[in-house]
Symmetry: C2
Subunit: 529 residues, 2 copies
């Protein structure tokens, strides 16, 4: 958190000075645009109770459209994953090309069908915009003086400027309701189709586009309705409605509340509307939750990412872990195992982690840790640690290995057991797993409720947990106070501990037996396991 | 989070409408003041590189003054706790009275010693302020026309207005440097003395007062210095400096970064200065951290609250829990114990939790749970569950008890063993603890590193953890996937589980033996244990 915070502070300062430098024209079109900040300070300052109903309607629309968006993208993405994208990379590229073509055709063709509109008479508005500039009132195919095409004004703009225009209160009559509806339908469909193609595409700015379009629509109807009722209502309210629409669609689709609220306030630089954004987000999220899960959760689930929700299900309270692993057959690996045995275990199962058991002097077995499939594969592939005899390895492993050997490159899919080819001789060699295992995975007694285990997984970000029999005795009881170190005696403790660690290291080297203290090599890798 | 979010949205709307109603004058002075929002949009819009040095200086000053503040309040509060406040409640009241008197004397006396200043000639400023209003330019003892007392302008104002004036760029020459220094010293000393008295007093607004005072001082010096160098520099920068000063003092004292940043942006309604606030907060926090801990951490430690820092100390990685509880003697209680025995255990120890052990049919003991001292005291005081025979109680306990029996009222200090008086006969009765214990506290194996246990405590908010011997076998291995319920089969699972729970309940009632499933009574109490 602290590092992210510092980095973003530095980024903000650097970007600001770079933009100042670019304003002098030294970097061409590169510096234009800038922050995604829509200053809407010219808009409404206050709101009345009669506006709560249209705002609630915006929230409901946002929830419905957002939930529909999630459902449609889910269907299309799952179809892509399961059939389309399996046909190879060329299909992916072809798909992107087709979608680009369709998008271009729609963006260019639809404005052609619209009639030209008369420019407003207000001063201070350039209409149509001068050629070669970005901005409002695009004339497009309108050849007459002081005419513009309102649909082209949305389509033929950077999304940045288009949103600024949609949020703008100065241009109340710029867009006809018809154009806004056409744009909404087309843009929504294109957003659904584009999401999940093989190009990196954000979901945020399109979401604001969609939301602010129907927000502005609702705002226009409200203004007209109140004008009929002769209620005083400035045209500047559409600005607030566009903003609330954007918030409601993002809320209905992504289902974030607090963070979205902060984001909306940040990008509009307006705290006045905060409570309204809150209420609209709550409504749209509730409506959306009625139908399906949030966009990112749906997609994560589709990708097979085991994302745990923040709270355990209710029935988990009444279920013990014993019931969950009743039908499990635990596959253990001996501390010093034959390479061939390890290979056959890895081939016959799909588990990602295995308990490692060892026999003590008295013949009793006990569990000495957890080894990951990925680490086993690394060991098998490198062959460095194979040994001829089935005796402990005297911690040779530590000096042979670097932490980076066990780290999976982020771009790769990880190794598979099929990639490992060993000779018959090598199969007969032994491997001592002690230096490479996680000596102390978290354990739970067999009759703990599943809800508690759920919390353990979720809070600590675990991947595996051992279920063990109910303990026969308690060796100690740790309380919070035991973990608090007084300022005065902490240095003494550290010194004491570092000696004791050194002693243990010597002990370990001396008798060659593995103690279960975490050793430095895999420590940082294993801290989350 | 969700509930808090909703509540604050409702609060914001209600307050806003209540304030609108109050503006019509129907609620006297009650509605004046309002939000703690200082709109500083009239201030500087941009900043240059040459201003980074003075801003860094503000950060350093904030860190130093904040650390000093924490240290001084720590000394004074610990003296108060250990000697002054032990003399009784009258002393507390007397202390508050004396501090109030001193504060009043200083606030009234110091401005008397200052000379009167000439009002500025700018238009649009009422100087001196009309009698009976709150605002700028207090004339106090200045009898001449168009004169005011600058020290009185700070002291004789609501803190709300005083901060608004300190942040104001319109009144550059309102305060002389001398007055600001005097105010800073006096207000700082008073804040140190007042903190921790027996009156509820916030730390936020005084912090902003102190910070903005020296921030404005630095700003004044910067403007003067740049004027000498003939560098163009508007007087409006002092506004930003006052704001940064406030942020730096709060950061140096409370050591929050991200949250303080958001708060400062919210109360000033200004995003332009966000990166600067970030940098100043980072500097002041780092400088402060060099000397001592944050204000709240120091005070929590003084109060004996076992607050764990976010990360374990480094040496904990190399230390096992076995070493921590090496010298512990674990005091267990039998499942069915004599009342007299329980009393003697509670008298002879100070532990807050005890393992409960039970003997199986084959004579083997096993740990069946953890019971809290506070729950034992409730059982002993009510005497409802005492029984004549040492046999299991057939879950009678559940029907006798309500959850609220075991909840400690928030205003009380909790029961003590001295308050419980039992007759000789009652001492000979038995108590079956099975229905009242936490059947599954979290356990860790003896050779887990202390760092991991630390994370467990911190992330799950635990109070006790059992240290158990290294397990002899693994009964199962739970992974994240086991905890994910597919949308389609969740209802089926719930049904399946609810039957199995019902079965178990019947089993339990039938043979009168306690199974270790969590029962509904203490479930919600124990979920965090």
């Amino acid at each position: 958190m602290w590092r992210v915070f510092f980095t973003s502070a530095v980024v903000a300062v650097v970007v600001r000075s770079a933009m100042n430098w670019c304003k002098s024209g030294k970097c061409g079109h590169f510096g234009s645009g800038g922050f995604i900040i829509w200053d809407i300070s010219g808009g409404q300052e206050d709101y009345s109770f009669q506006e709560f109903l249209p705002m609630a309607i915006i929230g409901v629309i946002g929830g419905l459209l957002g939930a529909l968006f999630n459902q449609l993208t889910l269907y299309i993405t799952s179809w892509r994953r399961n059939s389309l994208h399996k046909k190879g990379n060329r299909v992916k590229i072809l798909e992107v090309c087709i979608i680009s073509l369709v998008t271009s055709a729609i963006s260019f063709g639809l404005p052609l069908l619209r009639r030209c509109s008369q420019c407003p008479d207000s001063e201070g508005i350039e209409c149509p915009r001068p050629p070669g500039t970005d901005g409002n009132f695009v004339n497009f195919h309108c050849t007459k003086d002081r005419e513009y095409n309102d649909l082209a004004t949305i389509f033929f703009n950077t999304q940045d400027d288009a949103i600024r225009n949609l949020f703008s209160a100065k241009t109340f009559h710029e867009y006809s309701a018809q154009s806004l509806v056409i744009f909404l339908v087309m843009f929504y469909s294109l957003a659904v189709v584009t999401f999940g193609t093989a190009v990196p595409a954000g979901q945020f700015v399109p979401g604001i586009m969609i939301g602010s379009t129907y927000g502005r629509l609702v705002g226009m109807f409200v203004v007209k309705f109140y004008q009929k009722l002769n209620v005083e209502e400035g045209t500047d309210v559409i600005l607030g409605y566009a903003l609330l629409g954007a918030a409601s669609f993002l809320g209905g689709s992504m289902r974030m509340t607090v963070s979205l609220c902060v984001i909306m306030v940040e990008i509009t630089n307006n705290l006045q509307l905060l409570p309204l954004i809150m209420l609209v987000l709550l409504i749209s999220k509730s409506v959306g939750d009625f139908f399906n899960k949030g966009l990112y959760e749906e997609q994560a689930q589709l990708k097979g990412i085991p994302l745990l929700e923040s709270r355990p299900k209710l029935y988990m309270r009444n279920m013990t872990v014993r019931e969950v692993c009743k039908n499990q057959k635990v596959v253990s690996i001996a501390r010093i195992a034959k390479v061939g045995e390890i290979i056959s275990v890895l081939r016959s199962t799909k588990h990602n982690g295995f308990p490692v058991v060892d026999q003590g002097y008295n013949g009793e077995t006990h569990v000495i840790g957890l080894i990951l499939r990925s680490h086993l594969l690394v060991l098998l592939q490198s062959k460095l640690d194979f040994q001829n005899n089935p005796f402990p390895c005297e911690m040779r492993g530590i000096s042979n290995r670097h932490l980076s050997d066990f780290v999976k490159p982020i771009s790769s899919k990880g190794m598979s057991i099929e990639e490992i080819h060993l000779s018959e001789d090598e199969m007969e060699l032994y491997l001592d797993l002690a230096p490479f295992l996680n000596p102390c995975p978290y354990i739970v007694p067999e009759d703990m409720s599943l809800a508690k285990v759920y919390n353990l997984f979720r809070q600590l970000g675990l991947r595996h947990i051992f279920v063990v029999p109910r303990p026969s005795r308690v060796m100690g009881l740790i309380t919070r106070k035991d973990l608090l170190v007084e300022e005065s005696d902490s240095s003494a403790t550290v010194e004491l501990q570092s000696t004791s660690v050194r002693d243990q290291h010597q002990d370990r080297r001396a008798n060659g037996r593995h103690t279960h203290l975490e050793h430095p090599l895999l420590d940082s890798l294993l801290v989350q396991e």
